[in-house]
Symmetry: C2
Subunit: 394 residues, 2 copies
């Protein structure tokens, strides 16, 4: 329900992360257009307090009770505080929210996002796991309730903009671009011994840790392929990936007359965020204009030997059902272990592949099926890492 006339009420899930901070930058530029109703964050109290002081939300949620108590002491503004998934869900569906920007990292984003869809609230979707895990359920529910799922990933925003105004039956394929990450040109044999710091150093985008590692393995692009399959209702064989190191062309759509429509901009998340928040209008986003002069745009075929996780994602999509959930859960565990220096970089692929090989896919009939597959894959990945041969461990 709308409480502010003419102003969109916004819930920001993951407000202290990279997407969340960019979202609040966009909102700051347009106080006549947007009002922050609620925020959900993790444990970054210092930044969350600043956000509360500036945007005066009615409700915020944090990771746990301890953080909530600490926050209560820190803030003077009157704000209701919730915790955990229940808190995030309440934030996503709070009274007055017209659009929920879903940018909690990982599988944890699914439940609050689905709750917002069920409440008839439009979604600006940065949490790709929502569709990776439960694409069919979420899109069905959204269609039933007339809820818009507006992409915030730069790639999906580009596809969305390149499909706009064209007939979906004329699409030959969607081409997602990938920067190729920090190891595009490293010798393959070096990948086993790359450090946490090397893997985190993304050449084009400044992002959170998990997504930076996922960009280095290219599994991030694989998750985006799965996301695109549901968001745009296209079969897997109509989705390709192409390496584009400059990250200027954010994605493309090829039509059956061999015409390609593409979207370009400086690599800056404020553009896609602003487009999703204000859709169908465009507003000043804060993304600087692209200087076309002396631009160099390269496109390279992805090497599935260098980036075997990308192949796993296509396999998971083809296998269907709960398999993408298993892929994603195993990846979250493996990346976590890599970040803790308990797994080699190349061990990420090995763990996911092994977890997937042990799994028998199931149909998805409810969120419960998804959450169960998620639990199973996490446990299996963890025990594989704990029991694994020294070759996997860093």
């Amino acid at each position: 329900m709308k409480v502010f006339d003419g102003i969109k009420g916004v819930s920001v899930l993951g407000s202290t992360g990279s997407i969340g901070r960019n979202t609040l930058e966009v909102i700051r530029k347009h106080p006549q257009r947007f009002k922050v109703i609620s925020l959900a964050a993790g444990r970054n109290i210092r930044l969350l307090k600043e956000q509360i002081d500036e945007f005066r939300p009615a409700f915020v949620s944090v990771a746990d009770k301890e953080t909530a108590l600490e926050l209560k002491k820190a803030v003077s503004a009157p704000v209701e505080i919730g915790v955990g998934i229940e808190g995030a869900t309440l934030a996503a569906t709070y009274e007055g929210v017209d659009i929920t920007l879903s940018a909690i990292s990982g599988a944890a984003g699914l439940v609050p996002t689905m709750a917002a869809v069920k409440a008839g609230i439009d979604i600006a979707l940065a949490n790709k796991e929502t569709l990776v895990l439960a694409g069919s359920l979420v899109m069905e529910e959204a269609a039933k309730r007339g809820v818009k799922i507006l992409p915030v990933d730069s790639e999906h925003s580009a596809v969305f903009q390149s499909l706009s105004g064209h007939r979906s039956e004329d699409v030959k394929r969607i081409i997602l671009t990938a920067s190729g990450g920090p190891f595009l040109n490293s010798p393959i044999e070096r990948l086993e011994t790359v450090t946490r710091e090397e893997a985190l150093k993304h050449p084009k985008w400044n992002m959170g840790e998990k997504i930076s590692i996922d960009s280095a393995t290219l599994i991030n692009k694989g998750l985006e392929v799965i996301e695109a399959r549901w968001l745009f209702d296209v079969p897997p064989e109509k989705i390709s990936v192409i390496i584009h190191p400059q990250s200027i062309v954010h994605s493309m759509v090829e039509y059956k007359d061999s015409s390609i429509v593409a979207q370009m901009s400086c690599p800056d998340m404020k553009g896609p965020i602003a487009y999703a928040l204000a859709y169908p209008e465009r507003i000043e986003s804060g993304t600087p204009p692209l200087n076309l002069f002396n631009l160099k745009l390269d496109f390279i075929e992805p090497d599935f030997k260098r980036f075997p996780c990308l192949g796993l994602a296509f396999d998971a999509l083809k296998s269907g059902g709960t398999t993408p959930t298993v892929l994603n859960a195993a990846d979250e565990v493996a990346v976590g272990m890599f970040l803790k220096k308990r797994l080699h970089f190349t061990g990420i692929y090995k763990i996911i592949a092994e977890v997937m090989s042990k799994y028998s896919p199931r149909e998805i009939t409810s969120i419960e099926d998804v959450l169960e597959a998620d639990r199973w894959a996490r446990e299996t990945a963890l025990s594989l890492i704990n029991e694994s041969s020294p070759g996997l461990k860093a």
Copy 2:
């Protein structure tokens, strides 16, 4: 009026030219979709006869009586034959025509195209002079009658595809790409002495003689700027030109959130032709798919010293009224003289600039105003060339 149920009746004006031949190639691929009702050509009887034998139009028109008599002897199929502008106009508006592809070269395309608009027939527009000369009149008439003006120029087709589905009030600027022609990198002092053959050798597009020279001076891009101003109803200051030697990105639209939407394909006219003919559907065009791998895309600021005709076109657009007509007419005369080796390449600019400097712009209230300005500019250009100093003559 439609005579073939479910099939679009097509009139092809300029059927033996480059665009005309490409159009018939597209139509050949889709006999269940298109039927050629009429053709208009010049003096290429051999090719026109072949086209009549294959496509069996009800009516054709040629340049003059002599050609008509010759054609009558050559063809056995029953076909009505007309001549001159009246013949082309009859072709454009013949019974059963649903869409007229207007690809007669130069100012001669205006009258038949306008007649088709007045008859309520959709236009696939390759003849840019129609809008350069009488943009306000033609677009007004088209709006009044619900006639679609669908661009066939690759640049305008690209803009059309990049605007589709987006709000026109969000457009920051239209960016027309130009290959830069054969003299993009020649020393400027060499331009005075370039030969007819050098100027005709376009690096990317295989086109007619007039448009090839216009691409070498870049006045073609200037005419396209004027065309875009009317076609998309954007003020001149929102249209830019950028050199893109590979001719892969056919044009772009920049929006106010710094997002750029672009259209790409192999340089091949069948794509835009098919899009215009079948709009809003896309059909197999015969344009080969673009191979994105190892593509190099460069964008360079245009040098108005090297290409002063481009500046003249912007001046003409700003001056308004009948000035673009004068620019175009002087260019047609000057290019004709260059092709006859009676004018230096750099003389083309000098003649147009001098004709324009002698002209006092007038408002356009009817096609008559346009035709009068056209006549005046042709006479003035001719006499300037005939009386000119030896420096201008080749």
